[in-house]
């Protein structure tokens, strides 16, 4: 019924595949970006605050988000935010909080207290200490959190189509509707490639930061 096969679909439907890929990347990028903007400062705050219950409540809440099945999360956001891109990004953003928050927290608490003491001794102010030393040392941890989240979110973003947000899931679901196997496979392969490329390149960034953090630690 279709005039394409498993390989020729990549040229025959190139336009549709690219649009869906673009939507998929936009959904992923927006939700991970929002996750970073919220979770990294929050994680830093949690390492600085002395109030224990704030910490445990924050961790509990973000943990609970991650236990909600993604389909249920989308369904719960429907009455609040309606359909389309916004609820999809909000749902995935909520999922991204926990791994980024945890890794930021772990990154900061793993810093050798001696380094901080000696930096203080050298006359670093709290702000200088945060941006010039602590953040640099914690970045590899934060990056691995972002990397992990990104790969997961690329997977979950395939469900966004159910609430009208498009993405590669749209081609998979519509392929299911007409039993178009090449279309289902092509969209699935693109989602897989996207996850692999994101994992690989963010891994490179992580390594780069690890090296520079390592040299910072040695300099001190």
């Amino acid at each position: 019924m279709n005039d394409y096969g498993y390989l020729s679909i990549f040229s025959a439907r190139a336009n549709d595949l690219l649009i869906a890929l673009g939507e998929h990347m936009l959904i992923t990028f927006a939700s991970v970006m929002l996750g970073c903007l919220v979770a990294i400062p929050l994680g830093i705050f949690l390492t600085k605050t002395d109030i224990g219950w704030i910490r445990s409540i924050t961790f509990t809440i973000t943990n609970v988000f991650n236990t909600i099945p993604s389909l249920a999360m989308l369904a719960m956001l429907l009455p609040l935010l309606g359909i389309g891109l916004v609820p999809a990004i909000v749902a995935l953003f909520l999922y991204s909080l926990m791994p980024i928050l945890r890794n930021t927290y772990a990154g900061f608490t793993s810093i050798d207290p001696h380094i901080i003491e000696s930096a203080r001794g050298m006359g670093y102010s709290t702000t200088q200490l945060l941006f010039q030393i602590e953040l640099l040392l914690a970045v590899p941890y934060i990056m691995s959190g972002i990397r992990l989240t990104t790969v997961y979110i690329i997977n979950w973003a395939a469900l966004a189509t159910l609430i009208g947000a498009g993405g590669l899931g749209e081609l998979i679901v519509s392929g299911l509707g007409v039993y178009d196997k090449p279309l289902i496979l092509a969209a699935a392969i693109l989602a897989m490639l996207l996850a692999l490329v994101a994992d690989f390149s963010l891994g490179k960034v992580e390594k780069f930061f690890f090296k520079s953090a390592h040299s910072t630690q040695q300099q001190n």
């Binding site: 429907l78 159910l162 509707g177």
Partner: protein
């Protein structure tokens, strides 16, 4: 690295083997069948009716597997023997696996579905219709229909390009009756499209997230949410008559099934099915209760 890879591979192979072992164990012999349903309500109500009638009149025990994503998925599941029965719509099933020969003739399309799906490829028994068709229908809010003076799909001309339309995702890909063919027939295109799960289009149009939705004509939310159906004045959509479909293998093993569901055929119409759907989708009742109550009211079940 190589060792890891071989471990992963052997785990995957084991998983596939055990999964396929599971699925082949329930192949419909020995007095049990599984009915599959699509995601929307009427297929679940009908499945409960089939189950009640079959269990009442034969020794066959019936399982129901709900929410298979699409009609072609249910047909493929029947073909592979994972399920033995489902509700199918002539136009939908034919356009997924064959090609509709007389898209304007419901009788001929039903006959074609019976013939095409009885062949070796599927080997299904396609029963007569339960009495209604669940067709695609464009729905707008009553207020919008009044404002733009909309009665037929052709009335959308000149307005559609400023409208956002919601429809089930697979409509984009359908050959004979999908969006591309629609654009050609009616020579109009929507400004924005929002493909989504079919169950959400009604709320989307009610909440003004979109202006127009491609609804299923038997859905009670059309009336419940004050939506107006636009007439398909160019008869673009083919017939979608609903029939129970059973694998020939399950019928050979359990010949009583045909007689058990026979009383149901031809008894429903679009309005009746719409009312039953409404009891679930609007009043929140359980599909099973709705099905059993209907059968008792009709005297088909004690």
């Amino acid at each position: 690295m190589k060792k890891q890879l071989s471990i992963i591979l052997s785990v995957l192979i084991l998983m596939t083997l055990s999964l396929s072992a599971c699925s082949s164990s329930g192949s419909g012999s020995g007095g049990s069948i599984t009915i599959g349903t699509q995601t929307y309500t009427e297929t679940k109500i009908l499945a409960e009716m089939y189950k009640a009638l079959i269990e009442d009149n034969t020794d066959v025990s019936v399982d129901i597997k709900t929410d298979l994503e699409t009609s072609p998925v249910t047909l493929k599941a029947m073909q592979s023997g994972d399920i033995q029965m489902s509700t199918q719509y002539t136009g939908t099933a034919l356009s997924a696996f064959f090609s509709i020969e007389n898209p304007k003739d419901p009788e001929a399309t039903l006959k074609q579905a019976k013939e095409d799906f009885s062949g070796d490829k599927f080997n299904f028994k396609w029963f007569d219709s339960v009495g209604y068709a669940n067709t695609y229908a464009f729905a707008v809010r009553d207020s919008l229909a009044e404002k733009y003076d909309l009665e037929t799909i052709s009335d959308l001309k000149g307005k559609a390009n400023n409208m956002t339309a919601a429809f089930d995702t697979s409509w984009l890909e359908r050959d004979n009756d999908g969006y591309d063919a629609f654009k050609n027939t009616y020579d109009l295109e929507f400004g924005k499209t929002r493909p989504m799960e079919i169950g959400l289009v009604y709320d989307a149009v009610k909440e003004k997230d979109v202006d127009i939705a491609l609804a299923y004509s038997t859905d009670a939310r059309i009336e419940g949410f004050d939506l107006t159906i636009l007439e398909d004045n160019k008869q673009f959509f083919p017939p979608y008559d609903a029939s129970p479909v059973v694998t020939q293998k399950a019928l050979d093993n359990n010949p009583g099934i045909s007689d058990a569901i026979e009383p149901l055929l031809g008894k429903l119409d679009e309005a009746k099915m719409g009312k039953l759907n409404g009891k679930v989708d609007l009043d929140g009742k359980d599909p099973k209760d709705v099905a059993l109550n209907y059968l008792k009211d009709q005297g088909m079940l004690k």
